[in-house]
């Protein structure tokens, strides 16, 4: 009894000492929801930062797909993480309006961020997001060896893409693999499709008006983009049909293209899918076993100069607590060291001002980085720019409703009703 008490007392003292010891370190908390492949690479960046700043302890908190809800609740409770990387520019503006987020103007040296990408994080004269990891979304992933074996050519026009899809179907294959499931964030891969199509059928100007809700969701041009996406399903181009797309997790959707024999031939997804693919199918060589082409243009009038519009997205770092160690970590995230760890290990793109496509061993990363530099028309992911109630709410569920068979007019009217409330 007495012995037990002594042991307990000793443990308490050791515990207190440990807490006091830790308290001497300055702590920075980061919240992210990168799954599988990305999480350990982010940890490498954290390690590199901690090696440079031994007195700062970066605590990483990984949450699931429902991060919007978690962030909103934590902010409402006055208990947000110190910083978070995120793609939600629309939400970032809402946070800025509510005064919940730190204006980084003058606090962070932005000279290392690609000046073309920097404005994404600016709003109302302030700087609320530091662009760190870009993604190019308009890419179609395919298996070059299977294409060669079947005599399929990479399509450069929408017409050729339709002809190829017909050909694959006639040969007994399935043209597209699509996965719309993403837990609480289900539907977003479909919004990317619609945004990419919108840029190609209505053009960038209309796209901007749509994102800013200057045209209603019931506009025929919006409707046309949904219908073009829907035609993939009505033409039986999609693996498993609409139910297959709705029940497939977005990270698993690319795999059927690279099974032997392939269950599908094409998959449209952003550059980040490389991490998922290499996680699931071992020993694939970029450029040889898998490759990409850009989703071709559709309506010539929408892209008058003939250049292919590029849909991009990415992660910006937003800061919620203005402390020197937090700013130091945010600053480090814009550094070449951080960018290189990310892109060399994941085959992802870099937002660093010195990023040079020739520096990448991975030909797909090099190509995508070059596209990011060359693009004459490039637009950020519309659903991330919209207010969260639409972009991370009714647009997501609207896509799922449409694909699962709800009439398009009903779907668009519902999204429009929520947009009227939200903007």
């Amino acid at each position: 009894m007495r012995k037990g008490f002594v042991v307990l007392l000793a443990l308490t003292i050791v515990g207190l000492a440990a807490i006091v010891g830790l308290a001497q370190d300055k702590v920075v908390t980061v919240m992210h929801s990168w799954p599988g492949a990305q999480a350990p690479i982010f940890e490498m960046i954290v390690d590199a930062f901690e090696a440079e700043n031994p007195d700062i302890d970066v605590q990483v908190e990984i949450v699931g797909q429902d991060r919007v809800a978690i962030m909103q609740a934590r902010l409402a409770a006055g208990n947000p993480p110190d910083l978070t990387p995120h793609p939600w520019i629309g939400l970032m503006k809402e946070w800025a309006d509510a005064g919940q987020i730190v204006d980084l103007t003058g606090l962070v040296d932005t000279s290392e961020i690609n000046p073309a990408l920097l404005p994404i994080g600016e709003y109302d004269g302030g700087l609320y997001g530091l662009f760190i990891f870009p993604n190019v979304k308009s890419l179609v992933w395919y298996n070059p060896k299977e294409f060669a074996a079947n005599g399929y050519e990479v399509p450069t026009t929408w017409y050729q893409l339709q002809a190829l899809s017909q050909q694959i179907l006639a040969d007994g294959g399935v043209p597209w693999a699509i996965g719309l499931d993403s837990g609480a964030a289900s539907g977003w891969p479909g919004t990317d499709w619609i945004e990419d199509i919108m840029l190609r059928t209505a053009g960038a100007d209309v796209y901007d008006k749509w994102v800013n809700h200057e045209i209603p969701w019931t506009d025929p041009r919006v409707k046309k983009a949904f219908e073009t996406f829907g035609s993939l399903f009505s033409n039986n181009y999609v693996l498993g049909g609409s139910i297959g797309a709705l029940t497939t997790y977005f990270g698993d959707a690319v795999t059927p293209v690279f099974t032997d024999p392939p269950s599908a031939y094409m998959h449209k997804q952003a550059t980040f899918i490389q991490g998922f693919l290499n996680d699931q199918v071992e020993g694939l060589v970029a450029g040889e076993d898998y490759n990409v082409f850009v989703l071709p243009t559709i309506t010539p009038a929408a892209t008058p100069d003939g250049s292919v519009p590029l849909l991009t997205s990415g992660d910006v770092i937003s800061v919620f607590n203005n402390r020197p160690e937090v700013i130091a970590f945010a600053q480090f995230m814009t550094s070449e060291t951080a960018a290189n760890i990310w892109s060399s290990n994941l085959g992802e793109l870099s937002a660093h001002v010195n990023a040079d496509p020739t520096q990448f061993d991975n030909p797909i990363t090099a190509l995508a980085q070059q596209m990011l530099i060359d693009a004459t028309v490039s637009r950020y992911d519309g659903s991330d720019l919209m207010p969260a109630a639409v972009g991370a709410g009714t647009f997501w569920s609207g896509v799922l409703d449409y694909v699962s068979g709800i009439p398009l007019d009903t779907v668009l009217e519902a999204i429009e009703a929520s947009a009227v409330d939200a903007y």
Binding site: A69, A184, L246, P256, S263, A388, S397
Partner: protein
């Protein structure tokens, strides 16, 4: 029980003493001057205060304080909040008074109406199924040799977290395109017998909602069974024997003897299940996140608050939920008090 009552009586007896003594003081003593009058007046207050049962209030106070802080205050705050618009703080600069707008939304918006329809579907199918199956299992398993083991197995789902259960069932309902190996239990069976795989969680409005309700029933039947089984074991055996000797068949014994005796317990379990199902959130959240017309009221409340940031609407939905649950709670409490009273 009797010892407690005895103590209560003695305490009452003690309470009476100062009352009597003070009464005798004011009654017998004549007020000679002002100070004496004031004294008697003060004594009157003291007597009145002494009559208050401070002991009992002291015992109840912590409970009242906690209930007030964590139950009454949030409920009142939510009610007030339901008349205000978006925005996070209760009376912040961003929050405006909107009158009955949120209430109109809750009862007219098509998604809300769909959520209410689904909740009604849950209440109907879930509570009848859990109590019905629970009763059936309780009565039938009474005749099984390995009753304890079987009951334990059926009870296990109650001990698993709802999120865990939903993930298990996500695998059961999993869908793969025709031609690809089915990893879902149900679709593997369907395909084995030559059918086409079914999108269990997608096909609206009946298949997916029924599938979700099945998960809930699987989770709660064990709970109902255990409680109803306890009530069944309490039925005096001679009663059943007598009925049998009088020539009643097993069905008649069940229908006219067992069932009426189980009814009070089943009613309590039933109302508990209704309250449970109205609050139901996790299963829908994990399996479909309310997509494909499967949203229920609690789910809608979460989305309005945390996804869409509209705390006004979310509070309105919370109050609606409270109003829906209240009658069942009152029913349960009344029954509870009646039972306690009967026993005392």
């Amino acid at each position: 029980m009797p010892s407690f009552r005895k103590r209560k009586e003695t305490r009452q007896g003690q309470n009476v003493t100062p009352e009597e003594s003070s009464g005798s003081l004011t009654g017998d003593g004549e007020p000679h001057d002002e100070s004496a009058a004031r004294l008697s007046w003060l004594r009157g207050i003291a007597a009145r205060l002494a009559r208050v049962r401070w002991n009992s209030w002291a015992f109840v106070a912590p409970a009242l304080l906690l209930m007030g802080l964590f139950l009454v205050y949030p409920a009142v705050a939510s009610l007030v909040r339901s008349f205000f618009g978006r925005g996070r703080e209760l009376f912040g600069t961003t929050t405006q008074y909107v009158g009955l707008k949120n209430w109109a939304y809750v009862f007219t918006n098509s998604t809300m109406l769909m959520a209410m329809r689904n909740s009604a579907l849950w209440v109907g199918i879930f509570s009848v199924s859990t109590v019905g199956l629970g009763t059936l299992l309780a009565v039938l398993l009474d005749r099984v040799k390995y009753e304890r083991i079987v009951k334990s197995i059926i009870f296990i789902p109650t001990a698993i977290s709802a999120v865990g259960i939903s993930i298990i069932w996500k695998f059961v309902f999993a869908y793969r395109a025709p031609g690809i190996n089915q990893i879902g239990l149900l679709n593997a069976i369907v395909v084995h017998f030559g059918g086409q795989p079914i999108g269990w969680l997608i096909e609206r409005p009946w298949i997916n909602n029924i599938c979700l309700i099945v998960v809930g029933v699987w989770m709660w039947t064990g709970f109902c069974m255990v409680i109803i089984s306890a009530a069944y074991k309490n039925i005096p055996r001679p009663l059943l024997e007598a009925a049998r000797i009088d020539g009643a068949g097993e069905w008649k014994v069940f229908r006219h003897v067992t069932l009426p005796l189980l009814a009070p317990t089943a009613a309590v379990v039933g109302t508990t299940m209704i309250v449970q199902v109205l609050k139901m959130f996790e299963i829908v959240y994990v399996l479909t996140n309310g997509n494909y017309s499967t949203e229920v009221i609690a789910n809608r409340m979460y989305k309005e608050a945390f996804n869409l940031g509209d705390y006004g609407r979310a509070s309105t939905i919370a109050i609606v939920l409270l109003i829906l649950i209240l009658p069942f709670m009152v029913l349960n409490i009344r029954r509870f008090i009646a039972n306690e009273g009967g026993r005392a």
